[in-house]
Symmetry: C2
Subunit: 323 residues, 2 copies
C-alpha cells in the first residue's frame, strides 16, 4: 500500500496536520520540523493523494479538454499546447474524445465535472442551451463557438473565409463552392455567413459534410456537377479528401479546380499538391484557453472574448482559372 499522511506523521513523531501543512502551507511549519517530515516522506515514498485533497479543498488541479475527434489533426497542436501550458501551472489535462456525438459529449462533461476544476470545450457539437445548462456543474472555456456569458476563444474564420474567397476571385474564379461542415459547428456557420455576405461571386453551398477526408471524398461528384472552378472546404481534411475524389474522376487540382482548405494541418503541407489553406492559431488558442480557465477560478468573474487572427497560406492547390 502507498504511504499516507498518517504513516508519515507516525514515523516522524508529529501530528497529521503538521505533515499536511508541510506540503500545503510550508511557511506555517518550523524549518527543522519541515525538513524532518520531508525526509521521512521521501523515505516512505509518500506522495499526496490529489483526489483526497480535492475532497476538502474543492480544487482538483485537473482540467478537462473535450474535443470532437482526436483523429482530426487540427486538435493535437491545441491539445499539446494546452497540456504543456497547464503543466507549467501545476495543472493536469485530461483529454476526452466525443466522436462527434453530442450525447457522448454531454455524458463526458457530467462525468468529468466532479473530477476537474474546469473544462475546455473545443468545437462543441452541443447546443448553446445544453452548454448553458451544464455550465451549472462546472466552469467552461469554449473554443470555436460564440457563447455569451462564458469565456470564449474564437479564431476569426470569417475573416479567413473572406481572404480565401478574395484569393480565389483574384485568380479569376467567379463561381465558388463552399463545403460546409457538421450542422452543430459554429465555424461552419461563420464561414457561410462571411462568404454569403461577399459580393462579386456566385456561391454554391454544399453540405453539411463530415469533417473528414471521407466527407471530402463523398462530395467530389457534387462539386464537379455544380460547375464551380474554386472550392473553399470546411477544413483541410475535407479538402484533401476532395482533391483525391476529384483526381479519381480525372479532374485536376489546381489545373481544373482550385481548392482552399482551413486549419493548415501538417499533412496538408506534405500532400501533393500542397494545400492552400487558412492557417489557424491552434497552439495559441490552447494556451489562452488554459489561461482563461485558470483566471476564471479567481475572484472577479470575467467572461472574456478573445479573437485570434487567421491568415491565408498560399501553396499549390489554387491557381488561375482556365480560360
Amino acid at each position: 500500500m502507498a504511504a499516507t499522511i498518517r504513516d508519515v506523521a507516525r514515523a516522524s513523531g508529529v501530528h497529521v496536520s503538521t505533515v499536511s501543512r508541510t506540503f500545503s502551507a510550508p511557511h506555517l511549519v518550523n524549518t527543522d520540523t519541515r525538513n524532518r517530515v520531508l525526509a521521512v516522506a521521501e523515505d516512505l515514498g509518500y506522495r499526496p493523494n490529489r483526489a483526497a485533497r480535492a475532497l476538502t479543498t474543492g480544487r482538483t488541479h485537473n482540467i478537462g479538454l473535450i474535443v470532437a475527434d482526436i483523429s482530426n489533426p487540427f486538435f493535437p497542436p491545441l491539445i499539446k499546447a494546452a497540456q504543456a501550458h497547464a503543466r507549467a501551472r501545476d495543472y493536469h489535462v485530461f483529454v476526452a474524445d466525443t466522436d462527434e456525438d453530442p450525447l457522448v459529449e454531454e455524458e463526458l462533461i457530467q462525468t468529468l465535472a466532479k473530477q476537474v476544476d474546469g473544462v475546455l470545450l473545443c468545437s462543441p457539437r452541443l447546443s448553446n442551451r445544453a452548454i448553458e445548462r451544464l455550465h451549472a456543474d462546472v466552469p467552461f472555456v469554449v473554443v470555436n463557438r460564440r457563447m455569451k456569458g462564458l469565456p470564449t476563444i474564437l479564431m476569426d474564420v470569417g475573416e479567413g473565409a473572406r481572404l480565401a474567397i478574395e484569393h480565389l476571385t483574384g485568380l479569376g474564379h467567379r463561381r465558388i463552392a463552399l463545403l460546409s461542415g457538421p450542422s452543430g459547428s459554429w465555424t461552419s456557420g461563420e464561414m457561410s455567413a462571411a462568404a454569403t455576405a461577399m459580393g462579386g461571386v456566385e456561391l454554391v453551398i454544399l453540405g453539411p459534410n463530415a469533417p473528414t477526408e471521407r466527407g471530402g471524398l463523398a462530395v467530389a461528384a457534387e462539386v464537379i456537377a455544380s460547375g464551380v472552378t474554386g472550392v473553399l472546404a470546411y477544413n483541410d481534411l475535407v479538402a484533401i479528401g476532395l482533391i483525391e475524389g476529384l483526381y479519381e474522376r480525372d479532374v485536376r487540382v489546381p489545373d481544373d479546380v482550385s481548392v482552399v482548405g482551413v486549419d493548415d494541418i501538417v499533412s496538408g503541407r506534405l500532400n501533393r499538391p500542397k494545400l492552400t489553406t487558412v492557417a489557424m492559431p491552434t497552439a495559441a488558442a490552447g494556451r489562452m484557453a488554459v489561461d482563461l480557465l485558470l483566471q476564471s477560478f479567481g475572484e472577479g468573474a470575467t467572461p472574456t472574448l478573445a479573437t485570434l487572427d487567421t491568415s491565408l497560406v498560399v501553396r499549390e492547390s489554387t491557381g488561375e482559372v482556365r480560360t
Copy 2:
C-alpha cells in the same frame, strides 16, 4: 453547490447509507424506498461524486492512457477504440501526451497513479527498469513493448518487416534501407532484428530518426547517398516525409525508389503515391489493452502476452526495380 448524498438523505427521510446503497448496491434496498430516493435524487440533480467514492473503494473507475505523441495519426484510432470500449464498461479514459519525453512520461504516470485504477502505456519511451519501478504505484498494460511480468500487447511488427522486405525483394530490390525510429522504441528494435535476420538482401540501417514527417524529410539525402532502391520506414509519417524529401531532389517514388511505411494511417491512403505499408491492428490493440487492464484488477494475477498480427497492404509507393 451540487447536491450531496446527505441532501438526498435528508429530503427523502432515510439515512445516508440507504442513499449510498441505492446507487452502489440497489438490490440491498427495498423497492419502494429505492424509488423514492431515486425520485428525490433526480429532483435535486444529485450525481455521485466519483472522487469521494474512490477514496473509500479504492476504485476510481478511470484509466489513464499515455502516448508519446497525439499528433501521430497512429494513436487516435487506438485511443478512440480504448475510450469507447472502456465507456461500455463504465470506465473513463484520460489521455495524456508525453511529447516523446521520458521525464514527462514518468511525471505523468506518477500524477495519474492516484487518480486512475490503471494505466495503458502505449509505445513507452521509458526504460524497462523505470517501468518496473513505477509499476509499484499503479497497474500497467504495456502496448508495443515487450515487458515480462506485465500484461503486454504487441503487434507483430517483426513479421510486418519481413513481409515488407520480401515484397521488396520480390520486386527485384537487393539493397534496402531501414529507417529506424527513436532509440527508446521497442518497435524499432524489433524491425531491425527481423530485417537483419533475413538473408538475400543488403541492408543499410539509417537512424535513429524522429518518428515524424520531419524525420523522413531530414533523412532523404542520406537515403539517396546510400544508393538503395528500396526503403522500409519506421512508420508512415517518416515514409511520407521521405517521399516528399526525395521528390524535392527529383527522385521519384516508386519509379526510382520504392518506399514502404508502417501503421497504415489514413493520410497514407490519400497521399500520392498511395503508400504501401504494414497495417497495424490499432483499434483491436486499444480494446484488448482495456480488457487486459480490467482483467488484471480481478483476482488471479495473470500477466498475459497478446500478439496481434500485422499485414502488408500494397499500394502505389512500391514497384519493380528499374533495370
